[in-house]
């Protein structure tokens, strides 16, 4: 992992300073929301998952002192929260795998390709979808993805490659 937060930010989280939580949201909130949406398959579930993570940070309290890399911890937490939310959803809701921004784009143009890409992403195996979410939407390296998913960087890269192949085939159909 390359990026770590300043120690005072971690200290602020442990001490329960609201400004520290706001700083974390401003720094990582957008990427966390994208990752959560890609995994959970819905903007609403993604927003709830991100909120779960922040409430979890408050509850962790002193345990946060053991965190070596807050960025990795945040994305690992948001992945778990999004998976939990996804499992709770009904299968019918999962099939749509939709976010409002994507819908708007489809209406504007390139609609068919965008729709097919979203459908293909939703049909990817979970392990591949997670790597795509963390790498593309979270902006993490394969090394960082590997650390979060407890796999080797080569495995993370392979899963991404397999996912790209499936998406390519889906776009060709």
């Amino acid at each position: 992992m390359t990026e770590g937060p300043p120690d005072d930010l971690l200290d602020g989280l442990v001490a329960g300073q609201e400004c520290a939580f706001a700083a974390i949201y401003d720094r990582h909130g957008a990427a966390m929301l994208r990752v959560a949406a890609a995994i959970a398959g819905s903007r609403e579930e993604a927003e709830d998952a991100v909120q779960d993570v922040f409430v979890g940070l408050v509850r962790a309290g002193e345990r946060l002192r053991a965190v070596q890399n807050l960025r990795a911890y945040l994305f690992a937490s948001v992945r778990r929260a999004a998976l939990r939310r996804r499992r709770r959803r009904r299968p019918a809701a999962l099939a749509s795998h939709d976010v409002p921004e994507a819908r708007a784009s489809r209406e504007a143009g390139d609609a068919e390709t965008a729709a097919r890409l979203e459908r293909a992403l939703a049909l990817l195996p979970q392990e591949q979808r997670e790597v795509v979410a963390l790498h593309v939407d979270g902006g993490l390296t394969f090394g960082e993805c590997a650390e979060i998913l407890a796999i080797s960087p080569n495995t993370a890269a392979s899963r991404y490659r397999y996912a790209l192949g499936k998406l390519r085939d889906a776009l060709k159909e």
Binding site: E18, Y25, A30, V58, G61, T113, L117, L167
Partner: protein, 151 residues
């Protein structure tokens, strides 16, 4: 970092993935998350018994402890009343055995004797202690048992 030797068609998919529209956090979401953080921080500062869910947790723990206690005591001392006195013979069988040996005994008397036999079998040997008055006001108990009271 990209996977090495990514062919052009996969690079194109990679580019499309990055270019696709993705959700952006709204100001309302930021406000909502920070409000939830504020609530959680306020709850964290409360004593444990005033935190949300504390009583439910305490009640669940109490029920669990009670269940474990009942389960363990039930396992160790099953709720049963030994009809045979625990020696493998029923009272009536013992009375019949006594009447076979002493046919002239009445049935009631045989049952009484069987009861006495059972009571005797349950008696434990007790130490016979000789307690003596000490020099002061206290009593002196012997360190060794001189004899036993046997049933």
């Amino acid at each position: 970092m990209k996977p090495p030797d990514l062919p052009a068609d996969l690079q194109e998919v990679d580019r499309r993935l990055l270019a696709r529209p993705r959700p952006k956090p709204s100001p309302a979401h930021r406000t909502r998350v920070l409000a939830a953080v504020r609530d959680a921080l306020a709850a964290r500062r409360l004593p444990w018994w005033r935190r949300p869910g504390a009583w439910q947790m305490a009640a669940a723990a109490a029920v669990l402890i009670l269940w474990v206690n009942v389960a363990v005591s039930t396992f160790e001392k099953p709720f049963e009343f030994p009809s045979d006195g625990g020696n493998g013979h029923s009272l009536r069988a013992s009375a019949e055995a006594i009447r076979t040996l002493v046919p002239q005994l009445a049935e009631q008397e045989a049952l009484r004797q069987a009861l006495l036999l059972r009571a005797g079998a349950a008696v434990r040997a007790l130490p016979r202690l000789r307690v003596e008055a000490g020099e002061g006001r206290g009593l002196v108990y012997p360190k060794e048992v001189s004899s036993w009271v046997l049933p």
